[in-house]
Amino acid sequence: MTATLFDGIVQGLQLSLLAAGITLIYGLGGVLNLAHGQFAVLGGVAAKLLLDRGAHPMLAGISGIVAAGLFGLLVDRSLLLPAYRYRGEERLLLGLILTLGLSFVIDGYLNYVFSDFSLTLSLPIASVQIAGIPMRTAGLMTSLIAVMVFLALFAFLRWTLLGKTIRSIIENEVGAELCGIDPVRTRTIIVGLATMMAGLAGIAQGLFSSLGTEMGPGFTILGLLVAVVGGVRSINGALVAGVFLGIVNAFASRYIGAYVAFIILLATAMATILLRPSGLLARFT
């Protein structure tokens, strides 16, 4: 029971990492990134390449995250430029198509070049006993990192000047621009940050079980679902929605079975969207 809850929270936090990235890019750039899961896989592939060359797992993991972020910066400054020329729905549509194309390119390339790829990172100690329950250190560590990342993100958004400018752009891009904020520069930083979070989610998958190149679309879809259940514009919402859906999924797969569990997960997401169209925590950004 407690173990199932713990599993759910761990998986949920991983989903939250992906969803928060999608939320940030959507809030700031007005682009729904359909290649977000692919960034997670990309981070994992970069980590694996370093690992194979004999790098320390810790270093490899961090480099993987940085690599995902760098690729994010590159994409923002090149591929997404045509989309940024428009506003509102035009930008959304063009952004959807461009990122969908990007996800095909990444998937096609990775599946071709690394056809039998799988990243598995293992920790020195496999499991520990906490309050009488055996817990896997991998789960503990990934959730600890995820919680720390979220705390840092909230602190950053609340107390730093850059964080405040980011929130102002999410609220109203034109208004922020009139106050002298440069949305282009801020957007680039945020895309880098969001893709780094995706990279972290990919590495976490490698720690928790194993990461394959074919997992990109699955990550993207789950991340999108969670982001939308959270309200697409709220990071708190993404966090809560991720943990909520993670727990629903863990309990459903523990007590009912895998096919039905996924259906229950999707139906819960659908019901949440229909019951609270503006997200779980609509009022807070």
């Binding site: 045509p82 990444i106 998937d107 879809i221 096919y259 259906i263 139906a267 229909l274 169209p277």
Partner: protein, 345 residues
């Protein structure tokens, strides 16, 4: 306007049907190319329907494959389990798809969902459908697929006859589409795709319009799904997956041009040709697809039809006026202006 308004309004459709009917002559008896052409016609139908739902009424239905699959599975399972004739089961399958499409549309209008939210809800439905088909093994035979050979019309199992049947169905769908777009409903669609609030304020019932567009579009999608299921001889979840149906349909629509009559058809045809060209790349074809998608969109953002129109606009004098498909601003299927104003009642 030419002297034959009816002919003039449908001249491009007649031309299209003739062109498509001539394709088997060029396929030179190769069953492979005939099958490709048939698949292209099925996708054209789906894209026409998706244009009605997404292009004209801005409802991002990411469940084209699931609706088509639903109709196909309902039809096949009913035919198999109850030994009913396809004349009864096909309408039931189509009605199931249309009803579900209308329900999605009604609920999302009721809850005031934006484009993305409708997209995610319908995407979730697509995934639910896939898992249901896998889970309900005793009816659907799971991943292996359900054999539909012998359940449907014998005509659909003859490749050439099936191809012509699909052309008839596509032309029928296009005629229904043109009829709707030329009616008062069509004007309402144009108004609400420009600005929903203004349309609502000027007395258009946006809910009814959206639900009708969704129901009609879903019915066309379902029809395509059932016929395709019988034609294929076996239906499996993979046949109607998101990657296999929704993504090609979305790309075809955007490639050809949203809110145009022939855009979806041209887009689906171009997409089918592109797919055939990238097939030799083997596993890299996904990558080539992605690159093409990006390049085509940066180059022809408004779709091929609009770009061709613009190019022809410079040489307007050379273009026969009776061919309405390429006329500017898609007023091609509008009624003569006298009937535009509401009748005094």
């Amino acid at each position: 306007m030419s002297r034959w308004p009816i002919f003039s309004r449908y001249a491009d459709l007649v031309l299209l049907a003739i062109l498509l009917a001539l394709v088997p002559a060029f396929a030179a008896g190769s069953p492979y190319y005939l099958r490709l052409a048939t698949l292209a016609v099925v996708y054209m139908g789906w894209t026409v329907a998706f244009n009605l739902i997404f292009g004209h009424t801005k409802q991002l239905f990411l469940c084209v494959g699931a609706l088509a699959g639903l109709a196909a599975y309902v039809t096949a399972v009913l035919s198999q389990q109850l030994q009913l004739s396809p004349w009864i089961t096909i309408p039931i399958g189509v009605a199931a798809a249309a009803g579900l499409g209308a329900l999605f549309s009604y609920v999302s209008v009721l809850r005031g969902l934006g484009v993305i939210f409708v997209g995610i809800v319908t995407l979730a439905f697509s995934l639910i459908f896939q898992n249901l088909v896998l889970g309900l093994r005793q009816f659907t035979n799971g991943e292996t697929g359900l054999v539909t050979r012998g359940l449907g019309f014998a005509l659909l199992e003859h490749p050439l006859a099936a191809y012509y049947l699909f052309i008839v169905a596509l032309t029928l769908a296009l005629v229904v589409y043109s009829f709707v777009m030329g009616s008062r409903m069509g004007f309402a669609f144009r108004a609400l795709s420009d600005d929903e609030l203004t349309a609502e304020l000027s007395g258009i019932d946006v809910t009814v319009c959206k639900v009708i567009a969704a129901a009609l579009g879903s019915a066309i999608i379902g029809m395509g799904g059932t016929l395709y299921g019988f034609y294929n001889g076996i239906i499996s979840p993979g046949l109607f997956s998101f990657a296999n149906v929704d993504i090609p349909v979305l790309i075809s629509l955007l490639l050809g041009g949203m809110r145009t009559r022939l855009g979806p058809v041209i887009g689906a045809a171009v997409f089918a040709v592109i797919e055939e060209f990238v097939r030799p790349f083997g596993q890299l074809n996904v990558l080539v697809d992605g690159l093409l998608l990006i390049v085509l969109f940066i180059a022809f953002r408004e779709g091929l039809v609009v770009n061709v129109r613009k190019a022809l606009g410079r040489t307007a004098m050379l273009w026969p006026t009776w061919l309405p498909a390429l006329a500017p601003d898609d007023m091609s299927n509008a009624r003569p202006s006298g009937k535009m104003s509401p009748r005094a009642e």
